[in-house]
């Protein structure tokens, strides 16, 4: 029961930790003079990842009292900045959460309680669904920089995900008071209030979120659900349909819509929405399973490929693009993988991304007959006769014994 955050299936906005990004942007260039270590070999990497996941944030060393009070990322000095943050940034760019955690521990051992590192560690543990560890990190962050409560919605998210709804609500209230424009904190507050049984207050919070972010599909879904709780089925239907239109691949709006139709006494419409929900939910379960696996094992190419296929099955183009890009990055010379990418994008009708994939396939598969055979079919579909003929000629030439 994670509160989650709006995701493009590639990582929550919470995951793009503003504090660390800001800190690195300002100070890292000054520290990069010291070259980072080369990337560890695969076996070393597995060991580092495993060791990182066995760590306990409660055992991190502490800084002297008030060491970081009044911390301002803009005023950070080179001396303050642990070099390990470079490795963190690299691991995050690679989507390797366990390796990023390993580097964050190194950073926090070099510079105890360095606030951006504590914050980032909390974020990463949250993404790994290790909510207890996430909570520890955010609590520690808040204890060393109590004035930065506005950046601690992750603390409330962790409490919520652990089922501690009253504490979550109280902390969301603090965050919203400190950062009234934080829509994700406001949404979390709505959910916590809903869990506590205060549907009317939850609805007011969700309306506030939607006022600032009218295309927040998840907030529309929650609004529909809360309206159902308040026996306002017609309004719930409208909200659920809005959510459905914004996130057509997501099963949940269809689930809520089905319930709304039931409450409105329209069993046929309810059944139709329910059937659509069931089709999407079956794939969504697999997507969630694979996403969770990849957070822990980002190098599992088989899982990522399976994830791409599941995402394509529900038509989630953006997420397909994200994970295909990651696959290409992992296997820069893999022709078969590029043919797979083109197949998937072609199947989705994603011409824009398909064109990029085709160019990549031309480059990587320059001497591969199957690559050009696939490209011939791609250009035929685009009715680009010139390129179709060229690709066909290349294929035939490369196919000769």
């Amino acid at each position: 029961m994670s509160v989650g955050e709006r995701r493009g299936r590639g990582g929550s906005s919470l995951g793009r930790a503003a504090l660390l990004v800001a800190c690195c942007a300002i100070a890292l260039p000054r520290a990069v003079a010291a070259q980072s270590q080369p990337a560890p070999a695969a076996t070393d990497r597995s060991a580092i990842q495993a060791a990182a996941l066995a760590r306990d944030p409660r055992r991190l060393p502490s800084a002297a009292k008030d060491r970081w009070r009044g911390f301002d990322p803009a005023k950070i000095t080179k001396d303050d900045l642990p070099l390990a943050l470079i490795e963190v940034a690299k691991a995050l760019a690679d989507g390797d959460l366990p390796l990023a955690i390993a580097a964050l521990y190194a950073a926090l051992e070099a510079q105890p309680d360095f606030p951006p590192a504590l914050h980032q560690l909390g974020v990463l543990y949250f993404r790994l669904q290790r909510y207890g560890d996430s909570l520890v990190c955010f609590q520690r962050f808040l204890s060393v920089v109590p004035e930065r409560v506005a950046e601690t919605r992750g603390l409330a998210h962790a409490l919520y995900s652990l089922g501690r709804f009253a504490e979550a609500r109280a902390h969301y209230e603090r965050v919203v008071a400190a950062a009234p424009a934080d829509a994700e904190a406001r949404r979390g507050l709505a959910l916590a209030r809903y869990r506590e049984g205060d549907a009317a207050a939850a609805l007011a919070d969700l309306d506030a979120v939607l006022e600032s972010e009218p295309e927040h599909a998840d907030a529309w879904t929650w609004k529909a659900q809360v309206l159902l709780e308040l026996d306002r089925a017609e309004e719930a239907r409208v909200a659920a349909e809005r959510a459905r239109d914004l996130a057509p691949w997501s099963p949940r709006p269809w689930f809520v819509l089905s319930t709304a139709w039931t409450d409105l006494g329209k069993p046929k419409e309810a059944q139709a929405a329910g059937e659509r929900f069931q089709r999407l939910a079956a794939v969504d379960q697999e997507i969630r399973r694979l996403e969770a696996r990849l957070e822990y094992e980002p190098g599992d190419l088989g899982a990522r490929r399976a994830l791409v296929e599941s995402l394509a099955a529900v038509g989630d183009r953006n997420s397909v693009r994200t994970h295909l890009a990651r696959l290409m990055q992992e296997r820069p010379g893999d022709v078969a993988l590029r043919i797979f990418a083109l197949d998937v994008l072609d199947g989705l009708g994603d011409v824009e991304a398909g064109a990029l994939a085709a160019r990549d396939l031309e480059r990587v598969g320059a001497e591969s007959a199957p690559a050009w055979k696939r490209l011939e079919a791609w250009y035929a579909r685009l009715r680009d006769r010139t390129k179709q003929i060229e690709a066909g000629e290349r294929w035939r030439r490369l196919s000769r014994p």
Binding site: Q129, R130, D133, G163, R164, F165, R195, Q271, Y296
Partner: protein
């Protein structure tokens, strides 16, 4: 003076109430343990534990206990049997002793759950045992011992070659012919030759190597058998439409007339797949309506890993609520009746938050504190011993819970007993010591069987009534009957069922906590035959046995 001032904050705190239950297994069921594979749980077969049945098998007026035991993968691989199911007889005061050899049951492959009911209408309580292997029938020979009749019953033929994995079973009269029928809930196709062992297969949970499944494994269809009233069964799974569009990993089963239309429906809890509500069409067939009635998923439309089921008319609207236990990271579900269906309301009821870090199994919805409303018990324990490792937000051993109803629709989480964390699975409830309150027996995944004695303090506000029914015809225990007690302005309704907990059978009786009501003004029985029988000014604090009257 200073000491007194220092202590003041402590003294002003409200005292923590003592747990309602005391664990007395060491005295009540001395030395009884069960087995379920390896400690590290390398295979999914090793995690569910066995089953329990509470019923009066020797007809001496108290509740006896059947413990269904398991095995190990090593024994299976050597083609050796598992531990046999065992009957323990109650001395009437809640202390159990092994039954004489006449009651001995041959060991099977790997015992799982059980159901109890009078299959032949001869007045004694027979037994159905589910196994990873086959479903078995044990006939009670005039309250003097068991005799295995699996082959005669027609069950051996149906599934002997398939190695089905039966979990829960339900006895009920789905076709209203006055004879008990049988539903067997199946989990998944298990074979050590095709499923990877923990550590050798890439099966991980929160970064830790764990046993594989159920995801990625093949579910098995549940089965339905029509009873002939003489101990024999004929499979009617397909004929009755008891085949879902998408098969689930079945674990729990509960009979109930959810729509109060006079026939008995069946709710099935599935692991990692949507739960099923089989609506009895009244013509010998079923229709799966879980999604349409709002009991297939959680409030967010997410399938859950469901195990145990409890039910009772908690809000007093005449239809049972459903309580379902789930995996850690998910909340337990509380499906509250609304219109023709249900709405999942565990959060506003206070039942969601305290369950998220726990993994629930056996559960019961009953009035444990006799104050006139329904409470909930949950036996907890993780499936992964690896839950004790870093970053899981949970643990292998977990505290059993009592959720006390505040009378206004919210529940307060309390520890069930001062046992500390345990690794529990199946549970069954009944008044073991005849004092009118409901006790609970729970199975550890391996290790001692736990007996939780209810020690609710007695006063003028803890009246109770237990009602046993004797129906005409072969369904003598009147499974499916509805009993409604009206005392003052409060009406409480109970359905007679023997399903409950998880992989367990409970006594076929209605139990009412009546609070301060010194009598029941009206007690109405709606028998499975459709007849209605009304008793006036019923005395309380006793066990009342009602015979079905002849049609007038």
């Amino acid at each position: 003076m200073i000491v007194a001032l220092l202590l003041l904050p402590v003294l002003l705190q409200s005292p923590v109430p003592a747990p309602l239950f005391t664990e007395v297994g060491a005295q009540a069921l001395s030395g009884v343990t069960t087995l379920c594979g390896s400690k590290e749980k390398d295979w999914i077969l090793e995690v569910n534990g066995g089953g329990l049945a509470l019923g009066d098998f020797d007809a001496d007026g108290d509740l006896d206990l059947v413990v269904v035991d398991g095995s190990t993968v090593e024994r299976v691989e050597k083609d050796q049997p598992g531990n046999p199911p065992r009957l323990f007889l109650n001395d009437g005061r809640g202390t159990f002793a092994p039954a004489p050899k006449e009651w001995a049951i041959a060991p099977g492959r790997w015992g799982m759950g059980c159901a109890a009911g009078d299959l032949e209408g001869d007045g004694d309580l027979d037994l159905v045992i589910t196994e990873w292997g086959r479903t078995r029938v044990l006939r009670n020979e005039a309250n003097a011992g068991f005799r295995e009749t699996t082959t005669e019953a027609g069950l051996a033929v149906a599934i002997a070659s398939e190695k089905e994995w039966g979990t829960s079973a339900a006895l009920f009269d789905y076709d209203a012919d006055g004879r008990l029928d049988l539903a067997v809930v199946n989990y998944l196709a298990f074979d050590t030759r095709t499923i990877g062992k923990r550590g050798a297969a890439p099966c991980r949970w929160k970064g830790h190597d764990v046993m594989c499944g159920p995801e990625g494994l093949t579910p098995q269809h549940d089965r339905l058998y029509r009873g002939s009233g003489d101990g024999r069964f004929a499979e009617t799974t397909a004929k009755a439409g008891f085949v879902p569009g998408a098969p689930g990993f079945g674990l729990g089963a509960l009979t109930l007339d959810y729509d109060q239309d006079g026939d008995t429906d069946l709710y099935v809890a599935n692991d990692s797949t949507p739960n099923c509500l089989w609506e009895n069409q009244g013509d010998g067939t079923f229709r799966e309506v879980g999604m349409a009635r709002g009991v297939s998923h959680d409030a967010n439309g997410k399938e859950q890993a469901s195990m145990g089921i409890g039910a009772a008319d908690v809000n007093g609207d005449g239809r049972d609520e459903l309580f379902v236990t789930n995996f850690s990271g998910e909340s337990n579900a509380f499906y509250v009746s609304k219109g023709a269906g249900y709405r999942e309301r565990s959060s506003p009821a206070g039942l969601a938050g305290p369950s998220i870090q726990l993994l629930g199994w056996g559960t019961h919805v009953a009035d444990f504190d006799l104050d006139g409303d329904f409470d909930v018990t949950v036996m907890n324990g993780h499936v992964y011993p690896q839950a004790d490792r870093a970053g899981t937000d949970t643990s292998y051993a977990q505290v059993p819970q009592l959720y006390r109803n505040d009378g206004a629709g919210r529940f307060r989480d309390e520890v069930l007993a001062a046992t500390g964390p345990l690794v529990l699975r199946a549970s069954a409830l009944g008044d073991l010591d005849g004092d009118g309150d409901l006790d609970v027996v729970a199975l550890s995944v391996e290790g001692p069987v736990r007996v939780f004695r209810n020690d609710v303090a007695r006063n003028a506000a803890t009246h109770w009534l237990r009602v046993r029914l004797v129906a005409r015809g072969a369904n003598r225990d009147a499974i499916g009957a509805q009993v409604t007690a009206v005392a003052g302005s409060a009406a409480r309704r109970c359905e007679i069922r023997t399903t409950g907990g998880f992989q367990s059978a409970v006594p076929a009786e209605a139990h009412f906590g009546l609070g301060g009501a010194p009598k029941v003004d009206t007690l109405t029985v709606r028998w499975p035959s459709g007849r209605e029988q009304v008793l006036k000014d019923v005395a309380v604090d006793r066990v009342l046995v009602i015979q079905e009257e002849e049609a007038r």
